[in-house]
Symmetry: C2
């Protein structure tokens, strides 16, 4: 079945398109009387907060924020600039494979990369807790500086605030980045078409699992390292290999791959099938996740992207991705389908299918 | 006395220039074993943190941050872009004349304005405290949206994190802005020359006093409103009236006018004399400050700038500024002198002189 725009639209297709439009128009209401931890966990509650409260105020025309991208575009003197911001409140601030400072750089440059923009410059705003040992601060400042060099971005401005003891868990970091929109990029969360292939850039679930194990509440002794790394090189390779056939790219942070698939299925008015057996998950991550009672598909990554590519370019895209250091483990894990609209299904190893919805609750707060 | 570069340099001038270079090269060491509230108050301790710890890591060549400007410049495809970031942790979040949301927009667009850049777009990163009443959040989101409209900037991206109850004092907001560098602007903190006039755009000390009175610890009943407002129109007027004669502009936030004068005296290797009797301070602010035991010159403003203008254009600059709504109370308050290098002196109403140094301690934390 084709949905290309030059073909005549059948009654059935028109009906589907109507449903898509209706779904898009239906904006969730933010009814909670208070903010809860779930509103920061990246799942359904976060989406309700963004769509029900923030977008109506900040972007009443739904020009930018409504499509739920992590970055926005702006023009200065006809130059296309992508801009993104993220606060990092991860606890603990140091964990196997990284720390809040490194994360704060990679998280932000990756939001630019998956928007098809080459990261150029970042700003760093520090909120420090009174009493923070200087050596802890110095280590994070050095981590920020090294990560910026590794990601090829300049730190152009900064700010420092101090709050009283007990108010900031050592430190919070907000990083904002700007990038130059790549002329090869024509990405949109609404661009997915049935038949598109879903590709992840490597094994999933490592960052979130590393954080959970680093928290003292869990007594598991596996040494799993965060996957935190910059992703522009991977995005660049995808743009080179697939060009306009690259529909959309997302980094799979809070809420994991499952949340990315759900958001895009909804934004594009399509279904997505993920083949569970094809999703790369390291054995130790799978084991830890099982013990912790969570599905790796919902676990945050900080160095993995999900790409949606037209079928004719999917092979080239996968090959290009695998040639990028850090993304050698890339794999095709699923396909975009026509129905059920807005839903994500998982095909299990045994051939069964189940719905993989947005998380409603809050299993993993403060992961980034 | 002239310091223009085509005149021959006398022995005495050379000696002064040597001292300036030496002063610039001498970087303070950050020796404190812990972060204290003073490091966030905008005075001497903040400067030591920035120059002794952040600049060496983030900007080892001292290309940008070392001049202590609140914003940095970056080029994308030859387009000059100014970028700035600020976290807002003001307590309480609502105060007479404004709130954290409005402040978060104005503080950031003003950093761009005083860098000679027309504000174009901002991002908003929210760190929310678990349990925050939705109506409180909604009020700040609306305040952000209104302030953005008033300042003429688009909100292009956002982020939301939630931290556990007891952290984050309801909310922290980090706003980052980008602006288009105005071709008329040739501003630098190192550009001050003896004879330059010092102009403030209105009466000072209102924001900080309003915050202090809004805290329950002070039992003073004066209703003083924050001066929070966007300043691009004022900066635009100055650029139009003085052009290249406009040496430098700063918004006098944390640390107040006194801190701006000290930072620039040091950066330019000049002295600055402020005439106490010419500084506009409202009677109620002066009274409250006296009771609180603080000098209004050190109190934060959020809608006031300090401009340094060559003498031949100072009159035109002052007139232009007074024609801008919100800056009608602009006044010339002082002059740049040759010596003592790096110091700020106050000429009292009685004709005496005293040194007005950077604040060492921490009288006013969490003011923005």
């Amino acid at each position: 079945m084709s949905t290309s725009s030059d073909a005549p639209v059948s009654d059935r297709e028109q009906r589907i398109l109507d449903i898509i439009e209706k779904t898009r128009a239906r904006r969730p209401k933010f009814k909670s009387p208070n903010v809860t931890m779930a509103h920061g966990a990246g799942g359904k509650a976060t989406q309700t907060l963004i769509e029900g409260l923030l977008v109506p105020a900040f972007d009443p025309d739904e020009a930018g924020l409504a499509v739920l991208a992590d970055s926005g575009g702006v023009k200065i003197d006809e130059t296309g600039i992508a801009m993104t911001t993220d606060s990092f409140v991860v606890k603990p601030i140091r964990f196997p494979g990284g720390s809040i400072g490194e994360l704060a750089v990679n998280g932000t440059v990756n939001d630019l990369a998956v928007a098809g923009a080459k990261p150029v410059a970042i700003t760093i705003a520090l909120i420090l807790e009174e009493g923070l040992p200087t050596e802890v601060l110095r280590a994070e400042v050095d981590a920020i500086a090294s990560a910026a060099v590794a990601a090829g971005v300049e730190i152009v401005a900064g700010d420092t605030k101090v709050v009283e003891r007990g108010h900031a868990d050592q430190m919070y970091i907000t990083t904002t980045g700007i990038g130059a929109i790549d002329p090869r990029a024509s990405l949109s969360p609404r661009a997915l078409r049935p038949g598109d292939q879903v590709i992840v850039s490597g094994s999933i679930g490592e960052h979130g699992t590393a954080i959970m194990l680093a928290r003292e509440e869990f007594e598991l002794d596996a040494e799993i390292e965060s996957d935190t790394q910059p992703l522009w090189e991977a995005a660049d390779a995808l743009l080179g290999a697939a060009g306009p056939d690259l529909r959309c790219v997302r980094d799979a942070t809070r809420g994991g791959v499952a949340t990315v698939l759900n958001e895009l299925a909804r934004a594009s008015g399509v279904a997505i099938i993920a083949r569970e057996g094809d999703v790369p998950v390291r054995a130790d991550v799978r084991g830890a996740a099982e013990i912790l009672g969570i599905d790796p598909m919902y676990v945050a990554n900080e160095g993995r992207l999900v790409a949606f590519v037209a079928p004719e370019s999917a092979g080239a895209a996968l090959e290009a991705l695998r040639s990028v250091p850090g993304s050698e483990g890339a794999a095709a894990i699923g396909e975009v389908k026509t129905e059920p609209i807005g839903m994500v299904l998982v095909e299990t190893a045994f051939g069964g299918k189940r719905v993989m919805d947005l998380l409603a609750g809050d299993p993993l707060p403060r992961i980034c």
